[in-house]
Amino acid sequence: MAKQIKIHLLVCGGTGCRVSQSEAIKAELERELIANELENEAKVVTTGCFGFCEKGPIVKVHPDNTFYVKVKPQDAAEIVREHVIKGRKVERLLYTNPEKKEQVADSKHTGFYRKQIRIALRNCGFIDPENIDEYLARNGYEALGKVLSQMTPEEVIKEIKDSGLRGRGGGGFPTGLKWEITRKSIADQKYVVCNADEGDPGAFMDRSILEGDPHAVIEAMAICGYAIGATRGLIYIRAEYPLAIHRLKIAIDQARSYGLLGNNIFESDFDFDIELRYGAGAFVCGEETALIHSMEGHRGEPTFKPPFPSVEGYKGKPTNVNNVETFANIPIIINKGAKWFSSIGTEKAKGTKVFALAGKINNVGLIEVPMGTTLREVIFEIGGGIKDGKKFKAVQTGGPSGGCLTEKHLDTPIEYDTLIEAGSMMGSGGMIVMDEDDCMVSVAKFYLDFTVEESCGKCSPCRIGNKRLYEMLDSITKGEGTMETLDKLRNLSHVIKETSLCGLGQTAPNPVLSTLDNFWDEYVEHVVNKKCPAGVCKSLMRYVVIPENCVGCTACARNCPVHCISGERKQVHEIDQSVCIKCGACYEKCKFNAIAIV
């Protein structure tokens, strides 16, 4: 029988580590194992990114968890001879804790993993979301039990206030304060509403929480109900989230059958139940007044605040609206205490934030980091950097209401206020990363296209103004813009911001303003030189044949859908610009780099 593999050498295969020769390290390690006749006892395996790219390449030894950093191919022999054969750690390659100046052998104690702490995502990807027992085994509903049997509503609100939790849907309003205002509104009926109308392009954390840990939201809503004096809860969720709806329904039924929803919960005389309301996927319905109107069966249009929903909301009764991620933090705050929660994060923003990483980034996915983490840490360490080794250009945060941040903002700590200062906002936590191939005018146009589509049409600045912004951006991408267009663009943006009725209109010009501020040269290039530096705006570019490189293979001509390329075999070809539709097929097919974009 073959000997069993006892030791594994895990080599990071993330982009960052590959660039610094992790493949050569792997080859060297394998060679050393064979040279020492250890190939049946130890094995080298490439893994995904450790998210520690700054200290890469990383080699981790399994099962003893030794974590070697900045390994070079010539270190392979020493690792095999010392660690694999003699069982001694190669001390000079161990990670040194920068604060304590001591070496750390075990990867669990590098302190590095504190870059990501999972609070809102604590059960996501850990428990079976369709089985309440798994949630209960993880201390589920303990917080609700504690609140109902040991705390007064005022104490609950104080705990949430002390924790410093702020709304995770974008605005960042203090959650405890919102609860307090709703509690103080006097009425015969009040409502707890969970805003699950996640609409920012590229954001999917609320869906993931509902799909992965629906009971956390249900428990939190019941706690909120007790705190503000409401017996009914409503979850407003978009119909495009069928799996989240399916799992919520199962979760609500299971909670009812255990008596954790319904009448007399924990024999405390407190009644609470939840029903689902489906949205049709309108972006404006994420705004709380529009959301409430939609739930009432009216058109999803916002109304002026005040009165705030906490005073006059659903059916004219005091209503507390919180976002999914905000709710997901509540049970843990009750269980572990406000002091614990407020120890994480920064002075003004406590706890963690979930971000959905998307775009030109290697590790697309969900991450959860303490407030105050920098964009650089998120994008280049946890996110594994930019795809295909390209250059970072911008990151869009806050969805259509946010803005684009650039290289100079990379070391900005992420929290509500700093992002606003930098010209963007937290939003619900979508982060779309862009590289050198993205045209910022086109990006602004994309977001304006979205807001024009999603504007409810009630107020003129938003309905008409944004449409005009879109048209101006469109003309710039077609090479029809002038410097005057840029001035108009900025002026109109400010007018729309100041005069729109709701958050949608007030923030819709943000992508335009932030790109104007941060990428002014790129706009100028479009209007003055009629060029798109990123090569995205079709009207501004031409595909041309480079005669020196063309061998006359005819591949381009055969693949051109509009037959605008002419030329004999083995002769230089030519593109007829009057017919070319700029599809790029010739550019992709040419094996001789004979087609250029100018």
Binding site: Q4, I5, H8, L10, C12, K43, V45, T47, G48, C49, F50, G51, F52, K60, H62, P63, Y113, K115, Q116, I117, R118, I119, R122, C124, G125, F126, I127, D128, P129, E130, L136, A137, N139, Y141, E142, G145, L148, S149, Q150, R207, S208, I209, E211, G212, D213, Y241, L243, A244, S257, Y258, G259, L260, F266, E267, N363, V364, G365, L366, I367, E368
Partner: protein
């Protein structure tokens, strides 16, 4: 189902559930018992997690391996879906990404049977808040 009427009830229930999970592990041949979680959020399912889960359940049964396969939510590694987490008896869980049917077969044959790691591991890169 019996209703949970008090905090004491809830805590008792929690103890029971924890015991039950432990019992499940020890009664089913503790030497070989393997737990597998399959990330079944929208992104996972869209990348084929359901087929992988069905395959794992069928094949583990056919190959006579004591295992429990359950579904779970999004582990956060959307770039590497489908993702599964495998816990061998008395060992730390390991997450594998890009799990196709072929990869699932390799994981059963190499890792689950012999403890031999295969390509596609996604290192844990976050801190959990459990004590």
């Amino acid at each position: 189902m019996t209703k949970i009427k008090s905090l004491a009830d809830l805590r008792k229930k929690k103890e029971e559930l924890e015991q039950k999970l432990k019992l499940r592990e020890t009664s089913m041949n503790p030497e070989n018992f393997v737990q597998i979680k399959v990330g079944m959020a929208t992104s996972g399912i869209a990348s084929g997690a359901k087929e992988v889960m069905d395959y794992l359940i069928e094949e583990l049964e056919k190959r006579g391996i004591d295992a429990v396969v359950t579904q779970t939510g999004d582990m956060g590694y959307c770039f590497a879906e489908p993702t599964i987490e495998v816990t061998r008896p008395n060992e730390e869980p390991i997450v594998f990404g890009y799990v196709s049917i072929k990869k699932a077969d390799e994981i059963i044959e190499k890792y689950i049977k012999n403890g031999e790691l295969v390509e596609g591991i996604i290192p844990v890169n976050y801190e959990s808040i459990d004590e």
